[in-house]
């Protein structure tokens, strides 16, 4: 039997680039016609490996996925060689994509339960498909509450979608920022995202929490929610680690016995507790 080289990727086209914040862009990427990825099951929270030949490869999460059409969004901050090149080359460029990989958000476990989303900054990107999926299958889930914090109002992603999120039946959106620069109007909260806990309505029972953001933020989110009576098994976190293969071989993303790329990137807190090299 001939094994397939797992590093071979498909050439995809960047259809659209949309600026979210000064250094965060959403790239709409399309698989070629006839690609077998078109029918690929996709789960929010999974990730793909995107590369530009000669520059390198990096893991990105999805921020949207169009079922059956092979078109997806990825929303990323321009920080390294791959992301800078993506930004500079803009629309029309070709990129290599392989995946999706990993364990996504617990969309099945969350059915029939309230969903609480706690996001910080760029951490909203992998949670956006969760919101879309809940909206699309509204009757399968209970209440939806979104707590979203960022450094400043300018750093909030998907701001143009906030109104439609609020329009989802039985859904709330609470916003907060660390600080408000002069000249910007802001009539929401100021402070870290956990300050929104006082105002939220989601109860510990029959609910699933999904959080993504800086690990130090998630540490305080977990701490706060546990104190309110949420169970470790109901708190799901998406972790960021260095990844060079995405297929549990290169070893970079290991946390104790776990590979973030394969066993995560989404983990219930109950699986992470007591493991090394974690802030949470």
């Amino acid at each position: 039997m001939r094994l397939e080289n797992p590093y071979l990727a498909e050439e995809c086209a960047v259809k659209r680039v949309k600026r979210q914040t000064p250094d965060v862009y959403t790239y709409t990427i399309s698989y070629p016609r006839g690609s077998n990825r078109l029918r690929m099951p996709f789960r929010p929270g999974q990730f793909i490996m995107v590369s530009i030949p000669g520059i390198g490869e990096a893991p990105f999460s999805f921020s949207a996925w169009d079922d059956g059409k092979g078109i997806f969004d990825t929303t990323i901050r321009t920080v390294g060689n791959v992301t800078s090149a993506l930004m500079k080359r803009g629309e029309g460029q070709r990129v290599w994509v392989r995946g999706p990989y990993g364990r996504g958000w617990p969309m099945e476990e969350a059915k029939g339960k309230d969903v609480l989303i706690v996001a910080g900054g760029i951490g909203m990107a992998p949670l956006r498909p969760v919101i879309e999926l809940v909206a699309k299958n509204r009757r399968s889930y209970g209440g939806l509450e979104i707590l979203y914090g960022a450094r400043t109002p300018n750093d909030l992603l998907f701001a143009d979608e906030f109104e439609s999120w609020k329009g989802i039946p039985d859904a709330d959106l609470l916003l907060t920022v660390d600080s408000v620069p002069k000249g910007i109007e802001w009539d929401h909260g100021v402070g870290v995202v956990t300050t929104l806990f006082d105002r939220m309505r989601t109860e510990p029972n029959d609910s699933i929490v999904m959080t993504c953001g800086p690990e130090i933020m998630m540490k305080f989110v977990v701490k706060g929610l546990l104190a309110m009576g949420f169970q470790p098994k109901d708190l799901y976190l998406s972790l960021e680690r260095r990844m060079k293969c995405g297929i549990a071989q290169c070893g970079h993303c290991q946390i104790g016995p776990k590979f973030v790329c394969r066993d995560g990137p989404v983990f219930p807190y109950s699986e992470l507790r007591g493991l090394p090299d974690l802030l949470v």
């Binding site: 001939r2 094994l3 490869e57 960021e240 060079k244 070893g251 970079h252 290991q254 090299d277 974690l278």
Partner: protein, 343 residues
């Protein structure tokens, strides 16, 4: 499976017969040490070697390996596989068991590695019972030696003037058919058992594996890690000489006129600062203490945790002793375990 007893002075002839079919790699002296290197005759090998600088994994996961070449304007080419059958002669039990563990990572996962699979397939293994473990060896503690239970094509055991040669596969049977020798008797098998017992009496290092995954996870904040971090040079020697460490980096390399290049893998090491670095300089193992804890923990602690799917509950470490032998700072993982146990 069958076997033969080969007189030591017939070994050369056996090797030369094998060399007609295989490229042979055996232990060869290099300065004060040994390396696995291509040999053309039995005389070039030193079968009394203690251990080699690099483990045999270098034959299956080359230190640097092209994944594919590419052209900037499109087009990808996978490396061509031209190498014929090869044979590793004299691999010790620890290193053989290490390959069986690597198989779990590169063959038994969801995405098997085609290059690893090909190399494993085309490489015959002639193992050697270790009759003279070095002062740094502890394979007995790890259940990986001094003589392997399987995984070899042929297993040689030094019986004094002769070698007991047992086959462990059909390929091994075919290989042994090339050897001149006599039939195996009960006395020969007894001789092997005695050689193993004798070897076992020579081990100076031991690791108590009882509850070791819990021991490590309970001791993440033990001051021993901070102390090791102060001593540790983060030079990567332990990882690169480890027979079961499998981590690698993936990079692109452009040729100069920049019309094409290669994507390649290179061995990487968790004890290096850059290993865990993410965008904007974030690092989840910034301290040397956390990195040496990762190396030792992965090898003996959570590497052996039953939840660690890679190794099906077995420890990653095979007790070859290389990381102890070659550590400039004198860090010894068997001593670290004792310290964690408060001994």
């Amino acid at each position: 499976m069958g076997g033969k007893v080969i007189a030591k002075d017939s070994l050369g002839e056996f090797v030369s017969k094998l060399s007609e079919r295989y490229r042979i790699f055996g232990p060869r002296k290099k300065g004060t040490e040994w390396i696995f290197d291509e040999v053309r005759s039995a005389e070039e090998m030193d079968l009394r070697y203690s251990t080699t600088i690099l483990p045999p994994r270098k034959f299956f996961i080359p230190t640097s390996e092209r994944i594919f070449s590419f052209k900037m304007d499109g087009g990808v080419e996978e490396p061509e596989e031209r190498d014929g059958p090869s044979l590793i002669f004299g691999i010790h039990s620890c290193d053989l068991n290490a390959l069986l563990l690597l198989d779990m990572v590169f063959l038994e996962g969801e995405f098997p590695s085609p290059s690893y699979a090909r190399r494993r397939e085309r490489t015959a293994l002639v193992a050697l019972t270790c009759i003279d473990p070095s002062e740094n060896c502890f394979c007995e503690s790890m259940g990986t030696g001094p003589s392997p239970a399987g995984g070899y094509d042929v297993l040689l055991t030094d019986l004094g003037r002769e070698y007991l040669a047992e086959s462990g596969s059909r390929r091994g049977e075919e290989m042994l058919a090339l050897a001149k020798g006599r039939a195996v008797t009960a006395a020969d098998l007894e001789g092997k058992a005695k050689a193993i017992e004798c070897a076992k009496s020579k081990f100076k290092k031991k690791v108590d594996l009882k509850g070791i995954d819990e021991l490590f996870l309970r001791n993440l904040d033990n001051p021993v890690w901070k102390r090791l971090g102060e001593k540790d040079l983060a030079c990567g020697i332990c990882v690169n000489s480890c027979p079961t460490c499998f981590c690698f980096d993936v990079r692109d390399q452009l040729d100069f006129p920049m019309v094409g290049g290669v994507r390649y893998k290179e061995w990487d090491a968790c004890v290096l600062l850059e290993f865990s670095q993410v965008a904007l300089g974030g690092n989840f193992r910034r301290d040397r203490a956390a990195r040496i804890r990762q190396f030792i923990g992965h090898n003996l602690g959570w590497g052996g945790a039953s939840q660690f799917r890679e190794f099906k509950g077995r420890a990653k470490c095979v007790g070859c002793g290389r990381c102890i032998r070659y550590c400039p700072a004198g860090i010894d993982l068997t001593e670290v375990v004792k310290e964690l146990r408060g001994i």
